[in-house]
Symmetry: C2
Subunit: 203 residues, 2 copies
């Protein structure tokens, strides 16, 4: 069986990663990786669906046993990407989507070179500013901080394989589906499968 692909969807906050991933999952072709966290579940959040909710001790054990693709501490809590489920899905030939911030994506890239790294861009920085404002509840100062951080994050684009401008969700999703299909046609992926099949037939 052909192994699935790990598709890492990343980019500045406000670019629309979440909406794109939801749509990819809704179309039913990929499995969305679920993060682990030590923070408490919020109202309505389900363990194993929104997150794996772990105690700090459980999380520390998993770090020790090298069970995370990456992890980070945010304020008082830990967040991480568990390896096991991802490996299982990939082995079963299922493509896995990992939605993750830039810091996390670059960590994953260190250990998972064969992943497909896609940087999601807002249609323009002007539009990104509007989106941040529309989320509301931001002071002028925190708005500027968020905007400047998103702007400086564009510098990481070059570390990715692909960049997709999210001007319209449907178009962006189509582009990502094309990237997945194209990656499956990369010569190093097709070659061995094809030649092995032929070798077997000619045995």
């Amino acid at each position: 069986m052909e192994r699935g692909l790990l598709i890492v969807i990343s980019g500045p906050s406000g670019a629309g990663k979440g909406t794109i991933c939801k749509e990819l999952i809704r179309k039913g072709k990929c499995w969305l990786s679920i993060s682990a966290t030590t923070r408490s579940p919020r109202e309505g959040e389900v363990d194993g669906e929104n997150y794996y909710f772990l105690s700090k001790e459980e999380f520390a054990d998993k770090i020790k046993n090298n069970e995370f693709l990456e992890y980070a501490q945010v304020y008082n809590n830990y967040y991480g990407t568990p390896k096991k489920n991802i490996e299982e899905k990939l082995d079963a030939g299922i493509d896995v989507i990992l939605e993750i911030d830039i810091q996390g994506a670059l960590q994953v890239k260190e250990v998972w070179k064969e992943g497909v790294y896609i940087f999601i861009l807002p249609p323009s920085m002007e539009e990104l500013k509007k989106r941040i404002i529309n989320r509301g509840s931001e002071t002028e100062e925190s708005l500027n901080t968020r905007f400047n951080s998103a702007y400086s994050e564009l510098n990481y684009m070059g570390k990715y394989n692909y960049a997709v401008i999210n001007d319209e969700v449907e178009t962006a999703v189509q582009k990502i589906e094309s990237i997945i299909m194209a990656e499956k046609c990369r010569v190093h992926r097709v070659k061995n499968n094809y030649l092995n099949k032929e070798a077997k037939i000619n045995d």
Copy 2:
């Protein structure tokens, strides 16, 4: 304006390159490069449509002036890929399809690194044999020669960026369309366009 892509469609004879290219052109998204030749036009062939028909002197002049991406002598005649039209289409933002044998494709790759090189594979070597037989008018000997040459040509697959198995034309064409879309999302292609646009806005 974004530059077009040069898409090189190549592979062993009998893999179905021609049918795939015709379908890509029919869908109207690309321009098919036209070869030059010194052979005489056959019944119904139109100059500038099927080929550019040139005298041996004209062809030799163009070789001297470096006007071909690649050329080759086949028996008593020359065949070549003129550069000028391709450059013009690419500059106008139009993607160009170049249907070419393996020898030619590898020559083009030497001088045109930024092209997209796609190797078309028959569904299986068994199927390729059937196709060669169905073309008829082959002696047992020439059939074996053709088949063995196609089989050994598989060794060149690794020099290409992508490999597409032509089990069904519609699926193969879809894969190539995905490859074209994905290549346009390659980070080095998107990055400069995006940052230049932003730089202009922020001027």
